[in-house]
């Protein structure tokens, strides 16, 4: 088991400085993702799951932390200890990428989509080669007219298209792990399902591991093999998806499932709309 571990996080601590005291956003968390596995992290908003996701790929905001420690082993290398230059090299070489909840804010509004995807590719390519590769990535992310999309600016795309553009950027380095922070929460219901299907296809076709952070247990049930439940910066439990839904070990988990079921109970109109 441990030989095939892609990501192995041990005792990760992220304590933020706040106006009065310290916020223990991530407070001693262990987390593993095996190669090709799809893992979910669920919890209410503010439980520290987004901070955890960003910490895992070393994309935390650049502020002073009260405490920032732990081990993040990716493919055997402790990336928490890597120098900036080594980290940059790793990011560009089949390692890990991340996509975000609000795709508009995570795309540069003043640049066209094409170059934004292109600059994520390694630099030693000819211009035509880069363009073809960008189009291939956009197509793989589910955008059917890549040549048109590449010339567009982010604000000219729909929410779903933007998320796909962001996915294309993330795919550029052929990552073995994709971390997705609330990848569908900002999208319409139908678009949510389509983006979800795309993620599942990429997971299967590329054998790419997924680490999905969400408050949406429905999404987790659709996609994930294994689920972590997080509360107030700590992991409450971890189980495979069937065990978790059938016999939650923790009352908090049971309540999350119940709340989510109530929210997602389909009404006739709802089904008609889809």
């Amino acid at each position: 088991m441990s030989a095939a571990l892609l990501l192995d996080v041990r005792n990760l601590v992220v304590h933020l400085r706040a106006e009065n005291g310290v916020v223990r956003a991530v407070d001693g968390v262990d987390l593993t993702v095996a190669s090709g596995e799809c893992v979910g992290i669920v919890g209410e908003s503010g439980c520290g799951k987004s901070t955890l996701a960003r910490a895992v790929v070393r994309l935390l905001p650049n502020v002073e932390y009260a405490q920032l420690s732990g081990e993040i082993r990716f493919g055997g290398i402790d990336i928490a200890a890597l120098s900036p230059a080594a980290l940059r090299r790793l990011r560009r070489s089949s390692s890990f990428s991340m996509i975000f909840q609000d795709p508009l804010g995570y795309l540069n509004p003043t640049r066209r989509i094409g170059p934004q995807v292109g600059e994520a590719l390694s630099d030693t390519r000819s211009r035509t080669e880069t363009r073809n590769r960008v189009h291939a990535l956009l197509r793989e992310a589910g955008l059917t007219e890549p040549a048109t999309i590449a010339r567009r600016y982010p604000h000219e795309l729909s929410g779903g298209m933007r998320q796909r553009a962001l996915i294309a950027i993330a795919l550029a380095s052929s990552p073995r792990l994709l971390v997705a922070d609330e990848p569908t929460s900002a999208l319409d219901a139908t678009v949510q399902l389509q983006v979800l299907a795309t993620l599942r296809r990429l997971h299967q076709e590329r054998g790419m591991a997924l680490l999905i952070v969400t408050h949406d247990l429905g999404l987790v049930a659709e996609l994930c093999d294994r689920v972590y439940v997080m509360q107030a910066g700590r992991m409450l439990e971890c189980a495979d998806v069937f065990t978790l839904f059938d016999t939650p070990a923790h009352p908090y988990t049971a309540r999350l499932i119940e709340l989510s079921a109530r929210r997602h109970r389909p009404t006739p109109q709802h089904e008609a709309a889809e």
């Binding site: 106006e19 905001p61 650049n62 502020v63 900036p84 230059a85 980290l87």
Partner: protein, 281 residues
């Protein structure tokens, strides 16, 4: 009030700004007693360089420059602070009317504000002085005329925002008089960013006043730092001290107000100041 001062004292620039302004204030009030010589009398040979007898030297007609700079504090601070408050009064009224009543008043007043903001400050002031001449009160009026749009924008923004809040809706439903809603309900909540702006405006007013003085357009009967620089312009080759010391005094006052504004901003708006800066590797 003491609690407020204590909070300013804990900010990065606040205490320095406060200290500078306190010293200047004391100097302004006590100038006559602190000054070693009568600032208007000829007390030595003209154009003497700084020495122990004349700390900042003497000017072209033999007056003691140190005494003149001390006395000049009064005019500069008085015009700076009064203009800032006059601007608060004009800008405040415009901002409140536009922000609370909206509609046509809003459109007209904010267009006017925009126009005044587009016109170059110094030209507005110069034009007013060219036509009406310069005495102390006109000077304050002219400087206030130039900086009121800044206040109007801040207060307008606050009112537009606060007007939509529940406590205002409650007051309107309770049928309280409009003047009560504006003055008692909204105004106190709108003040914090306005205070910061007043401090910034005071520094701007001091700069404008010194510029007018330098152009020889300030009130000829009061000694001010800018006016000292006006005289200095003709003696740059022979008396560097006539330019250096009054100019440094202006800088000190402007830095003081700016640092106070920085401190106030940090107290009023702590989040924005401590935001993340720097690009990680």
């Amino acid at each position: 009030m003491t609690a407020f001062l204590r909070r300013i004292a804990r900010t990065r620039h606040g205490p320095i700004g406060l200290a500078i302004l306190l010293v200047l204030l004391v100097v302004a009030i006590c100038a006559r007693w602190i000054a070693p010589y009568d600032p208007k009398a000829q007390v030595g040979t003209s154009l003497l360089p700084p020495s122990s007898a004349h700390l900042m030297g003497t000017d072209n007609i033999g007056r003691d420059l140190f005494s003149l700079v001390l006395v000049g504090t009064r005019a500069s601070l008085a015009i700076g602070i009064s203009s800032a408050f006059a601007a608060l009064l004009i800008g405040g009224t415009v901002g409140v009317l536009a922000g609370y009543f909206r509609g046509v008043a809003e459109a007209a007043l904010m267009r006017l504000t925009e126009l005044f903001q587009i016109l170059p400050v110094i030209v507005v002031v110069l034009f007013a002085i060219a036509l009406f001449g310069a005495n102390f009160w006109l000077l304050i009026g002219a400087v206030a005329l130039a900086i009121w749009p800044l206040e109007a924008r801040v207060i307008y923004g606050q009112f537009v925002q606060l007007r939509e809040r529940e406590f205002v809706a409650a007051a309107i439903v309770a049928d309280l008089p409009t003047s009560h809603i504006i003055l008692r309900e909204i105004l106190p909540n709108a003040l914090p960013p306005v205070i910061v702006q007043v401090a910034l405006d005071a520094s701007l007013a001091i700069l404008i006043e010194s510029g007018l003085g330098f152009l020889g357009l300030s009130d000829a009967n009061t000694v001010s730092w800018g006016q000292l620089l006006f005289t200095a312009q003709d003696f740059l080759d022979s008396a560097w001290w006539m330019s250096v010391f009054p100019g440094a005094a202006i800088c000190l006052a402007v830095v003081g107000f700016n640092m106070l504004a920085d401190g106030l901003n940090e107290v009023v708006n702590p989040r924005a100041v401590r935001g993340a800066v720097g690009l990680p590797a």
